[in-house]
Symmetry: none
Subunit: 230 residues, 4 copies
Amino acid sequence: MARTIGSNGARTAQAIRQAGVQLIYRHGYEAMSLRQLAAEVGLQSGSLYKYFDNKQSLLFDIVRDHMEDLLGKAEADLAGVEDPLARLKVFCAFHLRYHMTRLAHVFIANMEIRSLDEAHRAVVVGLRRRYEGLLEGILRQGAELGVFEVREPKVATYAIISMLTGICMWYLPGGRLSQDEIVDAYTALVIGGVTGGTPLAESLSAPLAPVAAPADLPARGKPVRKAARA
Amino acid sequence: MARTIGSNGARTAQAIRQAGVQLIYRHGYEAMSLRQLAAEVGLQSGSLYKYFDNKQSLLFDIVRDHMEDLLGKAEADLAGVEDPLARLKVFCAFHLRYHMTRLAHVFIANMEIRSLDEAHRAVVVGLRRRYEGLLEGILRQGAELGVFEVREPKVATYAIISMLTGICMWYLPGGRLSQDEIVDAYTALVIGGVTGGTPLAESLSAPLAPVAAPADLPARGKPVRKAARA
Amino acid sequence: MARTIGSNGARTAQAIRQAGVQLIYRHGYEAMSLRQLAAEVGLQSGSLYKYFDNKQSLLFDIVRDHMEDLLGKAEADLAGVEDPLARLKVFCAFHLRYHMTRLAHVFIANMEIRSLDEAHRAVVVGLRRRYEGLLEGILRQGAELGVFEVREPKVATYAIISMLTGICMWYLPGGRLSQDEIVDAYTALVIGGVTGGTPLAESLSAPLAPVAAPADLPARGKPVRKAARA
Amino acid sequence: MARTIGSNGARTAQAIRQAGVQLIYRHGYEAMSLRQLAAEVGLQSGSLYKYFDNKQSLLFDIVRDHMEDLLGKAEADLAGVEDPLARLKVFCAFHLRYHMTRLAHVFIANMEIRSLDEAHRAVVVGLRRRYEGLLEGILRQGAELGVFEVREPKVATYAIISMLTGICMWYLPGGRLSQDEIVDAYTALVIGGVTGGTPLAESLSAPLAPVAAPADLPARGKPVRKAARA
DNA sequence: GATGAATGAGGGTTCATTCAT
DNA sequence: AATGAATGAACCCTCATTCAT
């Protein structure tokens, strides 16, 4: 019944993960050095490699685990709710609360996708697609049932998720507004947006002049002479 | 009327700026190396220093110039429009078109603020505040006149700007939808959101269980042992 | 009793210090590159940073340690000697022997103070002041007791120390003269100087025309456009 | 009788020389950059090459000209003075006044010999030898005539020159002491030293323990793997 | 499970110098 | 006489990573 000393390993692994999340959150993946991380958990930097294969996989693990957690919890919250409007409210509330509770993870998952290499990014993008699919499904269902007025469910999905996720750019626990108030404020915007507030008489954008394209926007995706990531 | 063979300062400066924008857009500021940038414009990396003081100031110049341009053009577009609803439509259309036309600049300005050092970041954040102020003013004015139903103008401002700005995460020129269609879709969401679609019976978030806080979210702002940016 | 193959931290640290002293001695601090130093001890240049924080601190460590050693040993040699003349002889002998034995350190400590940054220089200058204080104390004591004839003890201190230290500009072990002979020769000059040889009839310098100041000597301390040292 | 505009060139050359002296004096030859120098005289750095072949030759010109000036003026001052004691006084006074008047040149000539390449250094060392020869001649002459008591004229020469030259390490115009007072103080030390003050009973250094040689002083002149300067 | 010495590549940056204009 | 664009080499330094112990 003796407690194995070795269980230390699991604790260290957890400490690394937590410190990694905080460091990436605060400085960015590229700007975080493994020396910093090691110092944070009281190790030599070389010792970190007992706990991950390389810096990249640390990021991937964090982001993947986060996305799976997000997806799983969202599905759990939506389970059993049938009505599209109710489902949308549940989704909004879940998304907001989750983001307010896990600022760091969420921030990383949104900002550091670019730092993932091809293969890892594909996995994460896939998970993200599935998560977006939840909302898109709700919007399509509601549109079919006539309760939502959404012309472009795909666009609306991106728009709503961007809006809700934006909370992690300004929210700080202990601010003036309670989480409930924030959820209400955001949800009102979403519900209003998809149930059509004041009807729009005609094309809103017609009379406006287009913005001229600047010179420095050549064909996107043009390859760089040397790959940025070895 | 002799044409200079290779060296034309102004042209080189412009080429550096454009290549810099593209490289930062595609790889991120931290991940872009000045050797890469120099290669892109056909120079030695040391020669770049004829055109900027250091890597940081290149980023700052790009972001500052962009923000001032954005702010100036927004104000120009709004000039003379009085009605809050009309102003809101103008704002949405302007913001979206601008973002669709300057994906790279916009993306950088949103993603790389973190890479700016203290002093530079303050300047950019100030410009951003002023830009947000435009929208917040519109929302407050509309709320006072009773045409908008917005409980928390600050939150609504953040929410709407996040939503509109999110377009630079997915939009690619030449897609299925025209810029007009995209503007319409987004604008409908915004207008609906602030004019209140279907009224919300009661607090929307009440019945939902709060998300448990994860272990790895200690007090934010905890100092890192060694500053990431010297 | 296993012998480590290659890596022995303490030994490497010592090797770096020694090679650093030699390289700075021979080429000067500014002219010595860390690549050179690394090559000298069989390392990659980056590996040196396990052993010091930066090039500047390597220099500082060398100079500070040297000055403390010098000061400590001088005080030890003088301990218990009371008579000013005897103390002066001890000081001369100590200083000369020390300098003949540690040419490189001494040379560095005298030539590279300028390469130390503000804070480090202050420390070293402080140590140097204390060392000079030893000699000045001896001269003042001797003057009070009437055994020395020294009008300006401060000037005499600088003069004597310059004279004695100058040995590191020409001395090479194995030369024609033994260390004893050299010590005797220098000490005779010092003792004669402060005990007053042939009395000086009148002001020695009066009849001589002053040297005209050259044009290139404006007010000293005029600031340089850009600081040499960041 | 019109003033040629081109005479500007000579003025610029002079300005460069003066600024160069000041910059090298204050920062050291290695630490001075040609950009700094160019800025000081209001030129582009490339334009400096109209006035010298390279950085090295700028230093050489400064040092050589200074040494020749020093030597010439010393010889002039000594001309016609026959008596060794008088000659010694003249030498001391000349040397001190010259050094107090040309701090920058003198400092450079003493500190930057190491920065001269082989061939240039040889020239300067030759001039320095000739200058030392003046003093050595005086000492030998005085010793032969019995007015000086100098066992090792070579050592005494080095010692005295080091002592006198040391003034440029601390002297600042406008200090407490006049140049006359300083000259007197130093000259008294020199004259006393060579005319033998209190006779030294026996070998002064005999009873003192030798200083142990440190480990970091291998054979001097050991070549460096790579030449410091290309 | 962890150390600590070391690597090798690459980072941003500065420099003396060249040369067409 | 001077500019200003550019070079190419070298600088100090940091990094992720490896591995014998």
